[in-house]
Every structure is written in C-alpha cells, then in structure tokens.
C-alpha cells in the first residue's frame, strides 16, 4: 500500500514539478521561520538613522527603512510571526471545524440542516469585515488576530467535514462499528474522522495561503501586530507612506514575501489534492 502511494506520488510529481517546487518552498519558509532570527546580518529593530531609506545595495540587500533598519533582516525575522499566526489560526479552525462538522454530519436531521444553511451563508459573507469587527471587540492583540482568522476559516472546515462524514455515515464499516457496541462519539472520533482527515489536509494547505493574506491584511490596517515588531503586513503599511516618493523596496519586498508564501501553499494544496484525491484531479 505504502509503496503504491509513493509510486503514485512520484508519478504525480513528475507530471507536475510545480508541486515539488512548492513543497521545497514551504520547507524553506519553515526553515527560515526557525533559524531566520539567528542568521540575519542586522538586528531587525535596531535603528541607524544615518542609513535611513537607502535603496537596495550589497550591504543592505533589500534596502533600509525610514529608521535605517535593515529591510532584509526584518523580512527574514517576520517569517516566523506570519507563519505562526497563519498556522495556529488554521490549526484551531481545522480541529474545531472537523469535530463540529463531523458530529453534525453524523447526527444528520434538523440541527445538521440548520448548521449547514448557516455555514453556507457565512461563507458568502464579507469575512474580512467580520474579522475586523472581532479584533475590534476582543482587543487589539496578536492572539485575537489568530482567533478572528480561525473563526472566519471555521465555516469552510465545518462544511467540508460535514459533507464527507455524511456520505460515510451509513457505510458497512460504520454499521459494523456501531453493531460491535461502539458509542456514537467513538464512532465519529475513532472511525469517521480519521477517514476524513487526508481530504481535509488539502483544504488546510489551501487555507493557509488565505489565512496569511487575511492576517497580513489585518495588521496592514493597524490591528494586532504593533510596530516595531517585524511582520510583512505592517512592513507594507510602514512602507506605504514612502511609495509616492518612489521608495519602492519597502513595499515590494514584503509584498513579494507574502506573494511567494501564499503561492507556495496554494500550489502545494493543489498538488496534495492530486496525490490524495485522484478523483478531483484538474
């Protein structure tokens, strides 16, 4: 079994090298997030006003900002915070969404229909606005960015888990588990959920990109992360003041970092879907 999966994976990767590149990109991002802060050439928050607003050069690969801080070092150090926010938000909504969705899909009936209806409508709501309002109400802190991003991601997971569990709730091995005396809770958690997880992992990778964009958007408008903490969204916000005088590097580099991170997660998600779920192949 394992070798078939491996062979299938290799076959997919050969036909679609982008997935491999995306996976390498994600690994690189994680490595930067872990080791970045210890290998950067400059202190990301140490200002040096004599070097303010310098364009990219050999000494400062991505230029310097209005306080003379090294833009490249800030970009590298920011990776950790951006990834942690996105990963923890998506993690929370993954766990909660899988459990809520699985129980609803298993229970079926009126409650399930009501939840399904509600989730469908929520998915079409301007979610960024909702996240903004939540951060406003909960307080302007990084944890609340995570919570808000997790909540607006929740509908996607609930819907997914619900649909996947619903089609399996009456298949043979579930009946067998019930017949052998497993409780409903145990049927859902020990039998149904593990079968749904691989498909949900794809959703998770696709959602990570979205979560990164959302979190960066929130900190761009001044919520959550505060200066001088390096974070891509807030770096763009700080650079925005200098764009109409032509200081492009303060916006372009964090923007590029965001774009590449999101692109890697999206491509990886598409590739994972091809590997795990051959039916959905595009």
């Amino acid at each position: 079994m394992a070798s078939t999966t491996l062979r299938h994976t290799v076959w997919i990767l050969r036909g679609n090298p982008l997935t491999g590149i995306a996976a390498a990109g994600v690994v690189l991002l994680v490595l930067i997030a872990i080791f970045g802060p210890s290998i950067v050439p400059y202190d990301p928050i140490a200002s040096n006003v004599s070097q303010a607003l310098n364009p990219p050069s050999a000494a400062h690969l991505a230029g310097t900002d209005q306080l003379g801080r090294d833009n490249f070092s800030r970009l590298v150090v920011a990776t950790r915070l951006d990834l942690v926010i996105a990963v923890s938000a998506v993690g929370i909504s993954f766990v909660l969404g899988a459990v809520i969705g699985a129980f609803c899909g298993y229970a079926a009936g009126r409650l399930d229909r009501a939840v399904g209806r509600f989730v469908d409508v929520m998915m079409a709501f301007p979610l960024f606005v909702l996240a903004m309002a939540m951060v406003a109400a909960l307080g302007n802190r990084v944890e609340n960015i995570v919570i808000a991003t997790a909540i607006i991601n929740l509908p996607f997971y609930i819907r997914f888990a619900r649909a996947e569990v619903n089609i399996r709730r009456n298949v043979g091995w579930v009946e067998a588990a019930r017949a052998s005396g497993e409780s409903h809770v145990s049927v859902v958690l020990r039998f149904l959920l593990p079968n749904v997880l691989p498909a949900m992992a794809v959703q998770m990778s696709l959602n990570l990109g979205w979560a990164i964009l959302n979190a960066a958007g929130l900190s761009f408008i001044g919520l959550g992360v505060r200066p001088p903490t390096p974070e891509w969204g807030i770096m763009v916000a700080e650079g925005a003041r200098f764009i109409s005088t032509g200081k492009w590097w303060l916006v372009a580099f964090p923007g590029l970092a965001l774009m590449l991170a999101v692109l890697c997660f999206n491509l990886l998600g598409d590739g994972l879907r091809d590997i795990l779920d051959p039916r959905m192949r595009t």
Binding site: A124, F128, V129, G255, L258, M259
Partner: protein, 327 residues
Amino acid sequence: MSSLPALFGVLVFTFLLMRVLPGDPAVFFASGPNAGKEEIEVIRKQMGLDKPVPEQLLLYLYDVGRGNLGKSLMTGQPVTTDLRDRLPASLELTLTALLIALVSAIPLGVLAALKPGSLIDHGVRLFCALGVCVPTFVSGLLLIYVFYYLLGLAPDPTGRIDVFTSLPPPRTGFLTIDFLLAGDVDGWWAAFRQLTLPAATMALFVIAPLARITRASMLVSLGSDFVRTARSVGLSWWRIVVTYALRNAILPVITIAGIVFSTMLGANVLVEKVYSWPGVASYALDALLSSDYAPVQGFVLLMASIFVVVNLLVDVLYGIADPRVSI
C-alpha cells in the same frame, strides 16, 4: 430570502461582541478617566447598561429597527448620517471595480476556453494563479508607484477629487455621475482619473476567480451537444460563442460574481486605506482604531445588509439568465 436569518445572526453576533466582552462602555462614554462613580452610574442608566443582557439586546434591535445606530464619538454625528454621507464613495468604487473585473475577466475566460493549451490559455491561468496570491494593498501600492511616481499618469492617490476642483451639486453621490449631470467635463475627467487606480486595484484582485470560472464553465458549454449542433448547421462563430455557449455558461459566473462582490466589500477596507478614499470602510477603520464602536457596529450591519441585497439580486439574475430557475 435565506440570507435574512444570517442578517439577524450578524446583528445578534455584533451586539454580543460589542456588549458582553471586556470593557465597560459607560466608563468609556464618561467625560474623562477621572469621572466619578455616580457619573458613570448615570451614564450606565442612560445607555440601558444596568438592564439584563437579553433586554439590552431587545432594546438594541428596537433601535436598529428604527434606524438608530447610535452616535459616533469621533464626528459627534449619528452613525446613520455618517454612513449615508460616505456610502456613495464606497459604492462608486466597488461597482466600478466590479464592472472592470467583469469586462476583462469574461473575455479572458472565453478566449482561454476557446483555445485550451494555447499561449493565451496558459497566460490566463498563470495570471489567475498569481492574482489570488498578491494582497490587494500591495498591488495597490505598486500601481501607485508605477502610474503615479514612475509614469506620472495618475493623479495624487489621495481621496476622490483634488481640493482645487469644485464639487458638483450632489444628486446621486457618485461623483462621476454628478459631474456628468452638471455638464462639467473637466470635473468628470478629474474624478474619473482619481477613481481609475483604486478601482483597478480592486478589480485585479477579483479578475482571477471570475476568469477561472468563466473558462471552466465555457469549456463545458463548448463541448456540449447544442454547440456541436449549432456548428453543424453553419451558424456564425460569433453567434455560437456569444449567443449559445456563453449564455449557457453564465450561471456559475453569476454565482461567483455574487461571492466576489462580498469579497470586495471586505477588500474595500484595504483599498480605501491605501488611497485615502473617504468611504464607509475607512470611516469604520478610523473609528475602530480610536475605539469608537458604534460606527464599527453600524458598518458591519451595513455590509451585512448590502450582502443580503446582493444575494437577492443574484437570485433575480439567475432567473433572467436561466428561465428554468424560479425565484
């Protein structure tokens, strides 16, 4: 109609968020940090905060029902007035962006579907993949850099109109339309130039999903029997593609356009901040950053109502596009 319960849900949800969570609004509304206990108590009574939460919720719903969304601390005006003054700016921006997006995405999608695997197809797919990865605020700033700083084509990217242009008499609140009604061509040109960059920024963000769905849906429609039949009876190429294939492919595009519109309502916050656009979103954002909650609450409600209207509109458009669908 199914979105009405959601509107109600949003109402209750924002109420709970704003009232139940930490922070005592009465202390906030009091004259200063040193306000006495009695003063705070009086304000609490005035605001109805001494009543139990369910009763407060009913009072709030009653207020909203009468169109009373509270007062903004920043402007000192009722939130409804503030929102009404600023809504046209946001709508003008969003609708223009939607128009740009549809006008460019549908032809792109159709072209890509007509020649699958061609250079155009790959170009469109690459554009779609990249389009969803670039944050709106970054593409907006880069557009400013290129068109304002480098090329000098765009005007100063702040606000709807420069300070030297005299405003037309407000009729619709949409500056470009008001200038036209007033017969002021120079004014119209100024407002139009000011609008182009922010609208293009927002459009760039949503062209990708629209073009992608148009392409997919056109591929299905072009491969169908009725297109083959139309071709075999010798109808012109244009007639086949536009009248038959596109007409049948348009339903999913309408669905996505509805979803895209609600994404744009969210993206409004970012675009209005980048271009200092005086719309409802930047109003709510300013309020939010100065802990003035009534405008934020009003803004979320307004967005929810627009969202409901758009959903209804999508249902109606469905009926027009496909007579088999009844509302």
